[in-house]
């Protein structure tokens, strides 16, 4: 579970990027987070992953506070950024093995997971190539393998579908659903509103650092499409 309470964050004094964000992503939730460019989506996500510090409020991962227990919280989350700058000097396999080492995943389990995840995302044949040689989509795929290979409870993705081919995109949706069905939760930002609408049970809209809509998909969109709601809220 991911819980954000009254979160405030600014990069410069007097210029708040996040203005009192409140969100709860329960176990089993597939939570989409939408907003304009520069609305504060990536900043919020980075705060949740412990990359950015924040002035006020709290972020809890399974009731653990990220400020007082950063290490324990990070053990429970996996994050994939919108532009995955991975270690280009490693091969895909070396990168995933590195992640497994950091998360102390046992040998047999990592072997099975790497094999199945890389096949599902169709990156298995490129595991032996250097990441620096990968295309954007391939980097996204290996970052996703690195995320799903961990035994974590919360997945946080920033624009996970960008650069993926239709096959991988469809497979990722299935993997996300499966993850939430087994008790995990996913919090992700996206600009593809159709995907959010079809895939997620909850959604939040952020505008200029404030949440302007938050709830179940049904509550938010009613009889309209998510795009119609988003455009109406954005005006």
């Amino acid at each position: 579970m991911l819980k954000i309470v009254d979160l405030h964050k600014s990069y410069q004094k007097g210029n708040e990027v996040l203005k009192g964000i409140n969100l709860t992503v329960e176990n089993g939730d597939l939570f989409a987070f939408v907003g304009h460019n520069g609305a504060g989506k990536t900043t919020l996500i980075k705060c949740c992953c412990g990359i950015h510090d924040f002035e006020k409020g709290e972020i809890k991962i399974n009731d653990l506070d990220i400020k007082s227990n950063p290490l324990e919280c990070k053990k429970l989350i996996a994050y994939v950024p919108d532009n995955p700058d991975l270690y280009g000097f490693m091969t895909g396999l070396e990168y995933v093995e590195f992640i497994c080492d950091i998360y102390s995943i046992p040998q047999e389990k990592r072997k099975n997971k790497i094999e199945s995840l890389s096949k599902r995302l169709d990156i298995d044949k490129s595991l032996g190539s250097k990441i620096s040689e990968y295309s954007h989509g391939m980097k996204q795929k290996i970052a996703l393998v690195g995320a799903f290979v961990r035994d974590v409870n919360v997945l946080i993705f920033d624009e996970p579908f960008v650069g993926l081919d239709p096959f991988a995109s469809s497979e990722l949706k299935k993997m996300m659903k499966e993850f939430c069905e087994t008790g995990g939760c996913i919090f992700f930002s996206t600009h593809v509103l159709e995907v959010a609408e079809k895939l997620c049970n909850k959604v939040a809209i952020i505008k200029a650092g404030e949440i302007i809509a938050n709830g179940t998909m049904k509550e938010i969109k009613g009889d309209k499409t998510l795009e119609e709601v988003f455009l109406a809220e954005g005006e």
């Binding site: 950091i102 102390s104 046992p106 040998q107």
Partner: protein, 527 residues
């Protein structure tokens, strides 16, 4: 078209030495100026001691030869590092080739950009020696004119030879995995061939001074240098003309090949090797998070030519330098006599050790090296201390054995007592630890994740330059303090025990600082 050419040259020079700093106080221009003054000061010092020594021996012309040798090494290294990233297989290749610009303009602007930097190397490496030569030998108009021609033309020789050799290496290693590491090893080997050839320097010198030297391996390797030195020292026009011809021919070949085969060469340098065969069933060693982090640091090092060259060549120089120093001491009575024995020898070797460690490590343990991948370290469940110490561990693994080797070599060849050996050992390791930590701490405060290539953070960054300068000043200061003032009052052993204790104490203080404040600073970094 002329404007486009110079615009491209400007971009190429900037991209090779693109120094960004998140701290506005230290702009790129200031860093270049700072680095240049520092290097110039070091080489002026070396040139002065060399000129003084050779002048006493009546071999002043050797000073010019030495300066040219330094310039050749710098230019060759810089060229080899630059070819595969800035000229061929460069990131801007597809962009530039898609623009309405003549291929010849692109090629010539890239080569000119590289040549501009070669002139910088020539000024830094050769000019101090030339100035020292003129101070001792006096100035004549003809000699100055020849020197000017040599300053302009001579860099073309190491540039074109290194470039052509690199084309061969690039073609051979095009489908090889870890070609970056192989290429780095090759270039280091190449430089060592030149250094080892200099072991025949006496033959060259004899032939050079008397004009009756026989053809030897060294005389062949150093032929263009000998010609340039002859032109400067003896106003020899024939030597000058032959040297110009030697420089121009490979340059013309370099320009011709690059222009004609630019697309093919880029294809070769961009080409990716076949993926490594993987076997998931093969049992692998499971690393602890800390070991995984250290392994990651080494993987980065061995997969970047620039990073590896800038980091390891200094370490190799320490090993070779001290070995050669020891052998010379044993085999050459003049060297042994000039260095003396006992306290003086102990102090001189301590000074050399501190000096070599300061000038040979153009890399400090750095968080900046992570660049745009920085978010990973921040998002993974590892402590800041694990991250910081994984960087320090790599630094220590590279440089501490060098200090140990140098000390053992001094102990064996120079006959230091066991006590002196022990102090020198502690001093060496302590210095490595102390300045590695200092680099890391300065880097924490002046980090830079927006670099375009590893050279920016491994060699040209403010933390690296500051640490080099401080370490250099420390080595020189401690030595001069003892030799100049304290020698009548205090024994060498006691003095160096005190210095070692200061180094160890400062290291301990830095460790404490890193554990407490460093952790806090690290956690506040948002990249």
């Amino acid at each position: 078209m002329k404007n486009i050419f110079w615009e491209l040259v400007k971009i190429n020079v900037k991209s090779q030495y693109s120094m960004y700093n998140n701290n506005k106080k230290y702009s790129a221009g200031k860093i270049v100026l700072f680095a240049s003054i520092f290097i110039l000061a070091m080489f002026t010092f070396t040139a002065y001691t060399t000129a003084d020594t050779y002048n006493s021996a009546g071999l002043l012309s050797m000073v010019v030869l030495m300066g040219l040798l330094y310039a050749v090494l710098f230019i060759a290294m810089n060229t080899m590092v630059s070819v595969s990233k800035f000229i061929l297989g460069a990131k801007d290749y597809e962009f530039l080739i898609s623009m309405p610009i003549k291929k010849s303009t692109i090629v010539l602007s890239k080569l000119t950009g590289l040549l501009v930097l070669c002139y910088l190397m020539m000024i830094l490496g050769f000019l101090p020696f030339l100035v020292m030569y003129y101070i001792y030998a006096g100035v004549s108009f003809l000699s100055l004119l020849y020197s000017l021609i040599i300053l302009i033309v001579f860099p073309l020789f190491p540039l074109s030879i290194a470039y052509l050799l690199w084309l061969v290496v690039g073609a051979i290693t095009r489908n090889v995995r870890n070609k970056q590491a192989i290429a780095s090893i090759f270039s280091v080997l190449l430089i060592f061939i030149v250094i080892f050839a200099s072991l025949g320097f006496n033959d060259v010198l004899l032939g050079f001074i008397t004009n009756s030297g026989q053809v030897s391996f060294a005389s062949v390797v150093f032929y263009p240098l000998i010609l340039a030195s002859k032109a400067i020292c003896y106003n020899d026009l024939v030597s000058l003309l032959i040297m110009v011809a030697i420089c121009v021919v490979p340059t013309a070949l370099m320009v011709f090949i690059t222009q004609k085969y630019y697309t093919v060469l880029n294809y070769i340098f961009i080409s990716h090797p076949k993926p490594k065969k993987i076997n998931l069933d093969k049992p692998k060693r499971i690393n602890t998070p800390f070991v995984a982090l250290v392994k990651k640091e080494f993987q980065h090092l061995f997969n970047s030519t620039m990073y590896l060259m800038n980091s390891c060549i200094g370490a190799i120089f320490i090993v070779i330098g001290f070995l050669a120093f020891g052998i010379l001491y044993v085999t050459d009575a003049n060297v042994a006599m000039s260095l003396g024995t006992g306290d003086l020898l102990f102090s001189i070797t301590n000074f050399y050790l501190l000096l070599m460690l300061s000038i040979s490590n153009p890399m400090t343990s750095s968080i900046s090296i992570d660049g745009h991948t920085w978010w990973q370290a921040k998002s993974l469940p590892v402590t800041s201390n694990q991250i910081l110490w994984s960087k320090m561990t790599m630094y220590l693994i590279i440089f501490a054995p060098c200090a140990i080797f140098a000390t053992i070599s001094n102990w064996i060849f120079l006959g230091l007592s066991f006590g002196q050996f022990l102090i020198q050992l502690l001093l060496g390791i302590g210095t490595v630890l102390c300045f590695g930590l200092l680099g890391l701490i300065i880097n924490l405060k002046k980090y830079n994740f927006n670099w375009t290539n590893e050279m920016v953070v491994a060699k040209q960054s403010m933390p690296v330059l500051l640490v080099m300068l401080i370490a250099f000043a420390f080595g020189l200061g401690t030595f001069l303090l003892y030799i100049g003032f304290l020698i009548p009052y205090i024994s060498a052993m006691l003095y160096w025990v005190i210095i070692t204790s200061i180094v160890v104490l400062f290291s301990v203080l830095q460790i404490v600082y890193l554990q407490k404040q460093g952790k806090r600073i690290f956690e506040q970094i948002e990249g």
